[in-house]
Amino acid sequence: MRDDRARSVPTAIKILVAGGFGAGKTTMVGTVSEILPLHTEEVLTSASAHSDDLSGVEAKRTTTVTMDFGRITIGDSAVLYLFGTPGQDRFWFLWDELAIGALGAVVLADTRRLADSFPSIDYFERRRIPFVVAVNCFHGHQQFEIPAVRNALSLDPDVPVVLTDARDRKSGREVLVTLIEHVRAITLGQAHTVVGTPG
């Protein structure tokens, strides 16, 4: 390996932002971070392929799969990298690679279409990747209380469920804080003390 151990790189923390199509992934990544387009692959698409967010390009032979990619620099020591998972089922082959080495994931849920978040939740549960569920209340109201959402999603009692507004920077960043606290709780167990609270 030609690793250069003499030079230091910041601690790179990979966080995935998942959820059904339209749950607010792009909005959240863009709100909390500097967002950059990331073309992952060019894939063949047939003219008949149904496509949600690629309408108008059906006639083309290739489609560029673009992921949302955001970066938050924390001082000199750490950089958070956020990756919005491709929302279309047929691009799930990209997930496995994305998931490697991820610290954790945010599953954005839209209460009007809660079932859309099932695949993401199943995915992270099976791979034992820590995740939090963030209910996006961007429509100004939530149709369910948190316990009802938790119940509807059959979540493990340890999985945090929070309300968020994906358009609000502070709210989105607090979701990331919740995720990192969740990871700390798993890692540290009893020794875990929430940052910013006494003792």
Partner: protein, 129 residues
């Protein structure tokens, strides 16, 4: 020359597999060692004196080196270079073989949770930045 009006791909059949334009750059090669170049792996262009054989570099390779003058993550490099990730990985693998690019050791081994003091610093940074 292929155009959007050209639907008769008689030179393609099932055995040819998918033809994707950007992979013409890579000679059709795809996905070498995704593990070598994770999205958050940092790379940097090697000092010119360390490169073994720069004569084979294509313009696309040079573009990668231009963007990697300072250490940069594969994800950012891909975004800035404007190529697809799979293509960037092929180009990086070529450059690694040439000694033209250095793959930097991660601060935290892949799959390991960073030290708690770093996680605490991230939380404070998220709240106050």
């Amino acid at each position: 020359m292929h155009t959007d009006h050209d639907d008769a791909h008689e030179w393609l059949d099932a055995e040819a597999g998918p033809l994707v334009r950007s992979y013409a750059v890579t000679g059709g090669r795809a996905r070498p060692g995704a593990g070598l170049f994770d999205l958050v792996t940092y790379v940097v262009a090697a000092p010119a004196g360390q490169r073994r054989n720069a004569v084979h570099l294509q313009p696309e390779h040079r573009a990668i080196l231009e963007h990697a003058r300072e250490p940069i993550s594969v994800a950012e490099l891909t975004s800035r270079a404007g190529f697809a990730l799979g293509v960037v990985r092929v180009l990086l693998a070529d450059l690694l073989d040439e000694g033209a690019v250095i793959r930097m050791a991660p601060a935290v081994a892949p799959g390991h949770v960073p030290d708690d003091d770093i996680l605490q610093a991230v939380i404070l940074g998220l709240r106050h930045a």
